[in-house]
């Protein structure tokens, strides 16, 4: 599998982070960094990672299926994650989730028709004291109101081309 120079460099750095013979530790970081670039965890990627850390593709598959942030199918360019766990729920997180579903016309782990925006109802992401919270890719948005969510989605749509 051909990797971009940046990803190749990242992979080598990750492999070097662990003691000799313990390269399997690099597997999860490799999968998630590669997914960020490629868009999803593909069979080719799993094979490549398996080769590099010295396990079988099946062992990568087994790990991949466990972690909620690793996806087999590409999510949107903007992956909108709405927290509805307890602290967020108490201050309107579940209503924000409903609003996002209605506005985007998609549901949990679905992608908009143009492939640009995807939606996920997520568990606690560690923004409880600044709830309700939304994450777009890795960026946090705190104290989200219905108006702010509206504006956020509108601005994502504008940037989505």
């Amino acid at each position: 599998m051909n990797l971009s120079p940046q990803l190749e460099q990242k992979f080598q750095q990750l492999i070097g982070n662990y003691p000799e013979g313990r390269q399997r530790s690099a597997m999860i970081p490799m999968l998630i960094y590669a997914q960020d670039e490629i868009g999803s965890v593909t069979p080719e990627l799993m094979e490549e990672v398996a080769k590099r850390v010295g396990v079988t593709p099946l062992q990568v598959e087994e790990v991949m299926s466990y972690y909620s942030m690793l996806h087999r199918k590409p999510m949107g360019k903007f992956h909108v994650q709405v927290c509805t766990n307890i602290s967020c729920m108490l201050v309107g997180g579940a209503e924000l989730w409903d609003q996002a579903c209605h506005k985007l016309g998609i549901g949990h782990k679905q992608v908009s028709e143009d492939g640009q925006i995807s939606l996920e109802e997520v568990e606690c992401m560690g923004a409880c004291s600044w709830a309700p919270a939304v994450q777009v890719n890795y960026d946090f948005y705190h104290f989200v109101t219905p108006e702010k969510l509206d504006q956020l989605i509108d601005s994502l749509r504008k940037n989505a081309v």
């Binding site: 003691p19 999860i28 307890i86 602290s87 409903d98 549901g107 568990e123 606690c124 004291s129 946090f140």
Partner: protein, 435 residues
């Protein structure tokens, strides 16, 4: 404090640098007592460090509250195997958001705590396991690591001694279970995050079957201050056996939610009134979850209580991870019970049956309750199933699901009965909880 205003009632020990400009930089850290404790640690040596920690009565800030000095003393430092320092930065107990701040605004404090751990157990390699959702922190912590190498606080033969220490960050990929120490180690080794049977504990056999000193971010971050001020002085900030300060993550129905550092034993009602600025919209207090969603909630009349490990244990709850969630009189407790269970069901790793099946069935029953199809027998069954799960699982996730559920059923049974008679008190959002 970034994200929320500091409060005069706080005692800021580990968050003291948060408001400084460029608080994450090594220059700011060095100008504010940074790495002084590490120098001291090198002079003190392992026994004296561990004694100081024992004197501080520091207890684990991740949830279990185990005495840190004792934990450090369990690591066989003369073992011929390599020893590892592992930081649990997989903060994911609902209600908890403090480790994020400690890494974002004072990463050098964490590195210094790890270095002291390295001296104490003769380890030369540390890792910081950061949850995948906290990706933005990795460049921040990596930059701090780079700075520490450049200034000679990480690397070989540090400060003219024979002591060497290296640190790397490691990212998870979304799994609450990986906050449990043995599952974290499995995940770190590139496997599914399922718990290991213990003993042996990680102190003896952890990462790569080697002795591993594994603590929460806040625990390691508290160590430099302890060496600087002395264990006894640190202990004196809190209450007996509950030394020092801790970060409280206040959320829910208060006017000023936020992360605040308070001495152990700080009264819960003062947290709500003074730090939290009182209840939102002038509502009455109904209940408090003291330390993350796995902790049994206290009813309003039980909330006149000091926030420390032992007082909360006496009240049959826990200080847990410091995630204090405040619920007002309008809160729908049945929905709260379902939301909590849905989380643990989603996060159950599936390794052991009582947890996998227990959380699944409890979620199903609670869902049907909220959907208006519950019956009298369900209330009994929710309590029975939870009690049967308690203490019968490999790791504490099963307990974490059972404990709050048992408490809700016992303390707010009337609300379940009202649900049967009248349905939900307010409209339940359409799509949330639909999967």
């Amino acid at each position: 404090m970034p994200f929320n205003e500091p409060n005069p009632a706080e005692v800021r020990i580990i968050s003291q640098r948060f408001s400084l400009e460029n608080s994450a930089s090594i220059d700011t850290y060095l100008a504010n007592e940074g790495y002084a404790a590490f120098r001291k640690a090198l002079e003190m040596g392992p026994e004296a460090i561990i004694e100081e920690l024992k004197a501080s009565s520091l207890r684990g800030r991740g949830g279990a509250g185990f005495p840190t000095g004792l934990k450090w003393s369990f690591v066989p430092r003369t073992s011929p195997k390599p020893k590892y320092i592992m930081v649990n930065a997989d903060e994911s107990e609902p209600g908890t958001c403090k480790d994020r701040l400690l890494m974002q605004f004072d990463p050098h404090q964490l590195l210094e705590g790890m270095l002291i751990g390295g001296v104490a157990v003769d380890s030369h390699q540390g890792y910081i396991y950061i949850r995948g959702e906290y990706r933005y922190l990795i460049p921040i912590v990596d930059k701090a690591i780079e700075e520490a190498y450049a200034k000679g606080f990480l690397g070989d033969n540090l400060l003219g001694t024979k002591f060497s220490f290296h640190v790397r960050t490691h990212t998870g990929a979304g799994a609450y279970e990986c906050g449990e120490e043995s599952a974290l180690l499995e995940s770190f080794e590139g496997k599914r995050g399922i718990p290991r049977i213990r003993p042996p504990f990680p102190a003896v056999s952890g990462a790569y079957q080697s002795p591993t000193l594994l603590n929460n971010v806040e625990t390691f971050s508290s160590v430099p201050a302890i060496l600087r001020m002395g264990g006894a002085n640190y202990a004196g900030l809190g209450t007996p056996k509950n030394g020092g300060t801790r970060m409280l993550c206040l959320s829910g129905h208060v006017n000023k939610p936020g992360v605040y550092e308070v001495p152990l034993g700080f009264p819960m009602m003062r947290v709500i009134e003074e730090l939290g600025g009182g209840m939102r919209n002038g509502k009455k207090l109904k209940a408090v979850i003291p330390g993350g969603s796995s902790c049994p909630m206290l009813k309003a009349e039980e909330c006149d209580i000091p926030m420390d490990y032992d007082s909360l244990a006496k009240a049959k709850s826990m200080l847990g991870s410091g995630g204090m969630v405040v619920l007002d009189e309008d809160t729908d407790m049945v929905r709260v019970a379902l939301r909590i269970m849905r989380f643990y069901q989603h996060e159950s790793c599936g390794w052991c049956i009582p947890c996998r099946e227990g959380t699944t069935w409890l979620k199903k029953i609670l869902t049907r309750f909220v959907d208006g199809m519950g019956n009298e027998n369900d209330i009994v069954m929710i309590g029975d199933l939870s009690k049967n799960m308690l203490g019968r699982t490999f790791c504490p996730l099963g307990d974490a699901a059972a404990m709050p559920t048992i408490a809700i059923i016992e303390k707010f049974r009337n609300e379940f009965e009202e649900y049967l008679a009248n349905g939900p008190r307010a409209a339940v959002p359409q799509f949330a909880m639909a999967h």
